[in-house]
């Protein structure tokens, strides 16, 4: 069972009642909401911003912000999409700020990616060896895929993570990103093609 399904299918803790209790100042309900979603929020933020310290900080900021404003949450959307909306907005603001203060050399990035791809192709070509080699290949593949996702433009990276890692429906993505259903479809399509171009040598 995937990480997503393990958590999303869990009905033991009902969001609506937890939110209501939290609105009445119940600290246990607050802890339950954090415990229920902290790993998913952290994992998604980490995949977007690619830095563990930043991801921990942003996860904390997300929950603090949500708990502070939970009194004004009226349930027009689900708590789950509201939480992710706050997380994504905070993370994208962070990414934009980071990009502003630490510009990267696009040429250097491209060169490094080519080197990674060549090395991974070589590793995959050597498949059929024992398990440690296979594990190393998987680890290397994960690293290259993560790097490739990390180099996509922000809106492509976010939509891919919401769909393929968090496994949100198109409707949920539309709500989190505040865009139309049709835009979800077209942006997701462009994001996948952009990633495919980067990973072509590895995955074909």
């Amino acid at each position: 069972m995937s990480f997503f399904h393990k958590h999303k299918n869990s009905k033991s803790l009902d969001d609506d009642s937890l939110v209501r209790q939290c609105q009445h100042g119940d600290p246990e309900a607050m802890s339950c909401l954090i415990a229920k979603y902290q790993d998913r929020i952290y994992n998604s933020i980490l995949k977007i911003c690619s830095n563990r310290d930043d991801a921990a900080e942003l996860t904390q900021d997300t929950f603090v912000k949500v708990i502070e404003s939970i009194g004004s949450f009226r349930g027009q959307s689900s708590f789950y999409t509201w939480l992710f909306r706050v997380a994504v907005n905070l993370t994208l603001n962070h990414c934009r700020r980071r990009l502003k203060f630490s510009p990267m050399s696009l040429d250097a990035t491209h060169d490094k990616q080519e080197t990674d791809t060549q090395r991974l192709s070589q590793v995959i070509a050597d498949s059929g060896k024992n398990d440690p080699v296979r594990l190393a290949q998987q680890k290397e593949l994960a690293r290259v895929v993560s790097d490739a996702i990390g180099k996509l433009q922000d809106d492509y990276r976010v939509i891919l993570i919401l769909r393929d890692i968090e496994q949100m429906s198109y409707a949920e993505i539309a709500e989190v990103l505040d865009i139309e259903y049709g835009t979800v479809k077209s942006r997701l399509s462009r994001a996948r093609n952009a990633l495919r171009e980067r990973l072509e040598a590895v995955l074909t």
Binding site: G25, D26, P27, Q38, K47, E68, F101, L160, R196, L203
Partner: protein, 328 residues
């Protein structure tokens, strides 16, 4: 000719990958693959890519996350930073600001502890017959002497009523009670009329508003009382006296808040203090009911404001609420 169909094929493949394609779209895609095998290759590459993304390792949040969030919320509550602003600042400047705030919080904690110790030493005995005291501790600890409270948000001529008191909630659930009061003040739209300050174990809310607004706020505190070990009201009476009322009842609070005559306020406060001290609150409540009007407002003793509560809209009273962590 080539661009538009290409977009359609890409989107069709995306819908197919995500299981969002209709039967007709699936059939259409299969037909296209039969016609052009390169489309099938692209679809396979996208499927491999999707599997690779889904196989990425899942990372768990740091184990201290819940504690970190609680600590951050507590720190914000202590500093009175209740999230009224849009939080968008992250990065280096944000980290520096956080460090500065943390340093400020670390300075406030010993000061708060000192405040509590001084408070405990100087607090008058709350048991026994000495419910009227002449000490001025309330005035000394009242934030109004160190910080100016915001003016009441009314547009007309403001008139001061004699009520000036301090309501103290001593509780084991300090955070919850503080948050509940925060929420109640927001719900009653009293933020602009409230000056909040605090230390590690004491938070004060100095509120200057109309009696109606304050009575409305007190009405919402019924959920706070069960969480408190001790509730005490201290009234600043005539001639610099302080009248201590243990476990004041809701109706008693309402009577005192609306009272427009200082002498009557003193007499009422003394009567409530005496009745509550003897555990005779039922008598005090029954006594109160005789002076309540049909609309639920208490009747005024002297019609200094023409006897109408509507005309009290511009009058203001001052109530300071302390939330104290209970150590007993």
């Amino acid at each position: 000719m080539s661009e538009k169909p290409k977009i359609n094929i890409d989107e069709l493949m995306t819908l197919y990958l995500d299981g969002e394609a209709t039967e007709r779209q699936r059939t259409e895609l299969k037909r296209m693959i039969l016609h052009d095998p390169s489309i099938g290759e692209t679809l396979k590459a996208l499927q491999r890519q999707q599997r690779a993304i889904r196989a990425l390792p899942v990372e768990s949040a740091p184990e201290t996350m819940i504690d970190d969030i609680r600590a951050e919320l507590e720190r914000k509550l202590i500093l009175g930073d209740s999230g009224q602003t849009d939080e968008t600042v992250v990065g280096k400047s944000h980290l520096l600001a956080r460090r500065a705030l943390t340093a400020a919080a670390m300075l406030l904690i010993p000061l708060g502890l000192l405040f509590v110790v001084v408070w405990e030493i100087m607090k008058p005995p709350q048991d026994g017959d000495m419910y009227i005291s002449t000490d001025r501790r309330i005035a000394q600890t009242n934030p109004s002497e160190t910080a100016s409270p915001p003016a009441a948000a009314s547009t007309g001529l403001q008139q001061e009523l004699p009520f000036n008191g301090t309501l103290i909630f001593k509780t084991d659930e300090y955070m919850t009670v503080s948050r509940q009061l925060d929420n109640a003040i927001r719900a009653k739209e009293l933020i602009a009329q409230t000056h909040k300050s605090g230390a590690a174990d004491v938070t004060s809310f100095q509120i200057k508003a109309s009696p109606k607004k304050i009575a409305g706020l007190l009405d919402t505190l019924t959920t706070v009382r069960p969480r408190c070990k001790e509730v005490v009201l201290k009234i600043n009476g005539a001639d610099d006296t302080t009248i201590t009322i243990n476990d004041p009842q809701d109706r008693q609070l309402k009577m005192l808040v609306y009272e427009d005559n200082l002498d009557m306020l003193n007499r009422l406060a003394v009567r409530y203090a005496s009745a509550n001290l003897k555990g005779d609150t039922a008598v005090a409540k029954a006594d109160d009911e005789q002076t309540m009007s049909d609309d639920g407002y208490p009747e005024m003793s002297v019609p200094t404001l023409a006897g109408s509560y509507d005309q009290m809209q511009n009058a203001t009273i001052e109530l300071t609420i302390y939330i104290e962590r209970n150590y007993q």
